[in-house]
Symmetry: C2
Subunit: 199 residues, 2 copies
């Protein structure tokens, strides 16, 4: 299809598609002369992915570029997949030191996590930020949150295991950021649901 048709099929304006091309987020179409290029179904899928990452997950262009680069250069083995995905994801508080509390929590749960996992820094920084903001986040609450979240990860890991490797990377990387807003919305509904049940 031509770029105008790609625009129509995806609902994304041609100017935005050209921006994605310039930024290297969308691979170029196959050249059909000096002023025409042909786009395929894979381009449409990529454009939909870019919209979801930018609009729904709220990723910056720099973050989207890192996620997309990981998809374009998938790791050789399934074993490396999770590490590649985790490193491609945006992680706040990257420079926050990993706290002894977080190390102890992860060890206590029996999670085998690489010592330099970005999420160890993110978790340490996010816990410190919540407490600095006045939230009484006790070590006990944190452990109970972690146990509940393990149930979320069980679903994540089961979903990925059913997929062929090239879909698995997309699902881990993109699924982690695109499902975060789903989980956040569920949390708000569950709070209201439980609260009304209790009163």
């Amino acid at each position: 299809m031509r770029i105008s048709e790609l625009s129509e099929a995806s609902g994304v304006p041609v100017a935005t598609l050209k921006y994605y091309l310039r930024e290297g987020l969308l691979p170029p179409g196959e050249s059909r002369g000096a002023t025409r290029a042909e786009y395929a179904a894979g381009h449409l899928e990529r454009v939909r992915l870019l919209r979801a990452l930018i609009e729904s997950a709220g990723l910056s262009i720099a973050d989207v570029r890192r996620v997309v680069a990981s998809l374009d250069h998938p790791p050789a083995t399934r074993h490396e997949l999770l590490g590649v995905a985790q490193r491609a994801l945006p992680a706040a508080h990257r420079d926050h030191p990993v706290t002894p509390e977080v190390r102890a929590l992860v060890a206590g749960l029996g999670w085998q996590v690489s010592t330099d996992a970005p999420a160890l820094h993110t978790l340490s920084g996010a816990v410190a930020a919540a407490r600095a903001g006045g939230i009484p986040l006790s070590a006990d609450s944190l452990r109970r949150y972690a146990e509940a979240v393990e149930g979320v990860a069980v679903v994540d890991v089961a979903t990925v295991r059913e997929l062929e490797p090239e879909r698995a990377l997309l699902t881990v990387t993109v699924g982690t950021v695109l499902v975060d807003p789903v989980l956040a919305a569920l949390r708000r509904l569950a709070q209201e649901g439980l609260s009304s049940r209790a009163t």
Copy 2:
């Protein structure tokens, strides 16, 4: 304390504090003449809260203003508290229609949720966005995610119940946004922990 001391105690530059004052995010200090104002411990607590909301939770100034306004005008009864908090929170996909799938999910879980809860729209939109981005989010996975997230909300609701009412509003509103990044980091660590255990 003077504004320079408030700056030192909070680590936030005086220019930023003046911006918070102009934007109405920080209540004015008590006047001590034409060019001096006196700030109290409550101001320091508010500045720390603003930093956490802006830096860690990544809220826009407009979102922060809505959260802070809800804290400055707390509801009269504990029963209203959750609704006020939920409406003060930023919610993506506010204009997305609530899907029959989401209504059925919530009903199936026995969550009593007001029919116009913003999170119903957010959840419907986030599910649609994840699927548009190529994530195979089945109705069954969604239900299993919701059951796991219920465990998170149990901790939320228990924490709030132990607090006196004025802390409770802060904890529900701010805790929901400040604990979201904690949960997201835990999810990444749990994925890695479970994945290494399984292989």
